[in-house]
């Protein structure tokens, strides 16, 4: 589903949230989510992403602004009348009820008939492949099974919107990856709208149609996973999504879509001007480790710098190389393990080069080296 033109199913309009009346946890959030989309709110802890989810679920009132669901403002709708399914971080299964009773709860409060409840509960349990576990109590299930029950319970009353608050955080890596695919498939087959909160970028990249990267109460960038990785618009996003080499410098001239940047060590490079101010201002450039060429031929790329190899890590399909480039000793290059790749030795000096297109000049930031 496209992000423009279609009617927003969920809409945040100028939403602000403050718990103490002074500091804003969420600062002026504007976000449109079309029906059927899987949107992930990604960010470090304390970035405001969970608060946004809680406001959408109705557990936290918005300090300012309005949230719309299917065109209706919902600021004054209590949580139990919002018809939104939610999977909680710790699953929040009712420990005194069996799995089937947990799933029946939302149906019973909607006064459905016994027969209807039974069919729906069975269908939901079958969907998460727990058909035989209806009579068990949550405490008798493994973490992964509890997680599935939580998903089934959020879906059983057929809401159009599902919220998930770091639902896979407590699972081990393998199970987490498996559940990512299962949730993705459930989303695709049921065509529900999902708003997912996580701090795990791999999870966000795997599952989402669009990712909203949060930091400091602001959406830094919202776009599809590939755009987010290949075309980050702020230094924070470049650093937060994937691995990133950061080079700091001062802008010498801004041209048509490109700019010349003088590095702190004196070299000049050409970069794509993405988020830069006028000549003389500082910029942090972002460069993905796999876009760097070792010993490029002649003038095949516009930017060529010297790099001293500090460390080689053999990883099978590629060789991860840490080198010192332009005064940064944490410059990472991923060299694919192809036939006849450049011979490398620790301590040797090589040329490193890249296209100006791959070097994105962004807002200046002091913080963080490569992720």
């Amino acid at each position: 589903m496209g992000q423009n033109g279609s009617e927003a199913f969920v809409r945040f309009e100028g939403v602000q949230k403050s718990y103490d009346g002074e500091t804003l946890v969420v600062k002026d959030l504007n976000l449109d989510i079309p029906k059927g989309e899987f949107v992930t709110m990604l960010g470090p802890s304390g970035s405001g992403k969970t608060t946004c989810l809680m406001m959408l679920a109705g557990f936290e009132p918005a300090t300012h602004g309005e949230i719309y669901l299917d065109g209706q403002p919902i600021n004054n709708v209590p949580p139990h009348k919002r018809e939104i399914g939610m999977v909680f971080q710790n699953y929040a299964l009712f420990p005194h009820m069996t799995v089937a009773e947990n799933l029946a709860f939302p149906l019973q409060v909607r006064r459905m008939s016994k027969a209807d409840i039974e069919t729906k509960v069975k269908r939901a349990l079958d969907m998460v492949e727990l058909g035989a576990f209806g009579g068990r109590r949550p405490a008798q299930l493994s973490g992964g099974q509890q997680q599935r029950v939580a998903v089934a319970r959020a879906l059983v009353f057929e809401p159009d919107l599902i919220l998930m608050d770091e639902p896979l955080g407590a699972l081990d890596k393998q199970l987490r990856e498996q559940m990512q695919y299962e949730i993705k498939h459930i989303h695709e087959s049921l065509e529900v709208t999902v708003v997912y909160v996580t701090h795990d970028q791999a999870e966000a990249l795997t599952m989402s149609n669009r990712i909203a990267v949060f930091n400091d109460g602001i959406i830094q960038q919202i776009s599809s996973p590939d755009t987010l990785y290949e075309a980050p618009e702020t230094s924070f996003v470049a650093h937060f999504i994937g691995e990133n080499n950061k080079l700091d410098g001062t802008i010498q001239s801004v041209g048509k879509g490109t700019c010349k940047v003088r590095l702190d060590t004196g070299e000049t490079v050409t970069a794509k001007a993405v988020n830069v101010k006028e000549k003389g201002s500082r910029t942090s450039m972002s460069l993905r480790p796999e876009r760097i060429v070792i010993n490029p031929k002649g003038k095949s790329v516009p930017n060529i710098l010297k790099g001293k190899i500090q460390e080689l890590i053999y990883l099978g399909d590629h060789i991860r190389t840490r080198m010192t480039v332009a005064g940064h000793d944490d410059f990472i290059v991923k060299i694919p393990n192809t036939f006849g790749h450049e011979p490398l030795a620790e301590g040797s000096t090589v040329n490193v080069g890249w296209e100006s297109e791959d070097c994105r000049a962004l807002d200046f930031t002091e913080a963080h080296g490569p992720g």
């Binding site: 139990h80 909680f88 909607r110 319970r153």
Partner: protein, 283 residues
């Protein structure tokens, strides 16, 4: 548990001293209660063991004090009053105490400590002071010497127990369960009765039991606030000891011990059952 070989003499000495102390505690706590039981079967109106009893002569034993207890209208009235007062006082204390504990456990509740201290105060303030205060206050508003007065007084004494036990249960309560209940479409009332209540039930039951026992055993306040019409079992025992010394008191004491043991056992079993249902221990 045997002592490991490496213990030092001091540790060894403490090990045995500790056991002696425990035994003494049991002796002084339990023996006075146990000794009442055979004495209540005394054939003669004495509070001591007669030579016949010590010889285990059947003639030295009798159940006539029990017969007296079950036929004497003075005692039967006391039983009725005790049950009625304890029942209603327990209900009031349980409802109020549970609600207070729920409110006090909410994160947004201001002045938590102060309110808690206020609610617990009937446990801390010497009973005679509460009793005297209640007497003067209740007399002024026409509640002295009424069943309602005694019930309210006992409810005030029982509430702290409920507040404490329910608060303890709520410490481990996962607040996201409430959110989950609301999110799934349960109204706040439904969430309270279907989710919160079943989970805090063990604390509520324990608190209710303490409140019941408090009212059932209480003598000071009922002496002040009540009169003969509101006489409870302890009231009747107290005045019995002062006025006409009869071993019926011993029979009553035995019955009370029996009731207490039964009540505690039942409630403990109920509590374990609901704890199992809560999923705290494997079923």
């Amino acid at each position: 548990m045997a002592l490991p070989a490496h213990v030092e003499p001091l540790e060894r000495a403490w090990y045995y001293t500790f056991r002696v102390i425990c035994a003494l505690i049991f002796l002084f706590l339990i023996i006075p209660i146990l000794v009442v039981i055979p004495l209540s079967f005394n054939a003669l109106p004495y509070f001591t063991f007669t030579p016949e009893m010590l010889r285990f002569d059947p003639a030295g034993y009798s159940t006539k004090w029990y017969a007296d207890f079950f036929s004497n209208p003075n005692w039967q009235g006391a039983v009725r009053n005790s049950v009625i007062i304890a029942f209603f006082a327990t209900i009031i204390a349980t409802v109020l105490g549970t609600l207070a504990a729920l409110g006090l456990s909410r994160p947004e509740m201001p002045f938590k400590k102060a309110f808690m201290a206020l609610l617990i105060s009937p446990m801390i303030v010497p009973l005679i002071i509460s009793a005297a205060g209640m007497y003067f206050f209740y007399s002024r508003i026409g509640l002295a010497s009424t069943h309602i007065g005694v019930i309210i007084a006992h409810a005030a004494l029982g509430t702290p127990f409920v507040v404490i036990t329910v608060t303890a249960t709520l410490v481990g309560f996962d607040q996201s369960l409430i959110r989950a209940g609301l999110n799934l479409g349960g109204s706040p009332q439904t969430v309270f009765f279907k989710i919160i209540m079943p989970l805090i039930l063990p604390g509520v039951i324990s608190g209710a039991l303490f409140a019941f026992i408090t009212s059932f055993d209480e003598v000071v306040v009922v002496l002040f606030v009540g009169s003969y019409e509101q006489r409870t079992i302890p009231w009747a025992m107290f005045s019995g000891i002062r006025e006409q010394i009869s071993p019926t008191i011993l029979a009553v004491a035995t019955i009370l011990v029996l009731i207490s043991v039964l009540l505690l056992t039942t409630v403990e079993m109920l509590r374990r059952r609901s704890e199992r249902l809560r999923g705290l221990s494997p079923g």
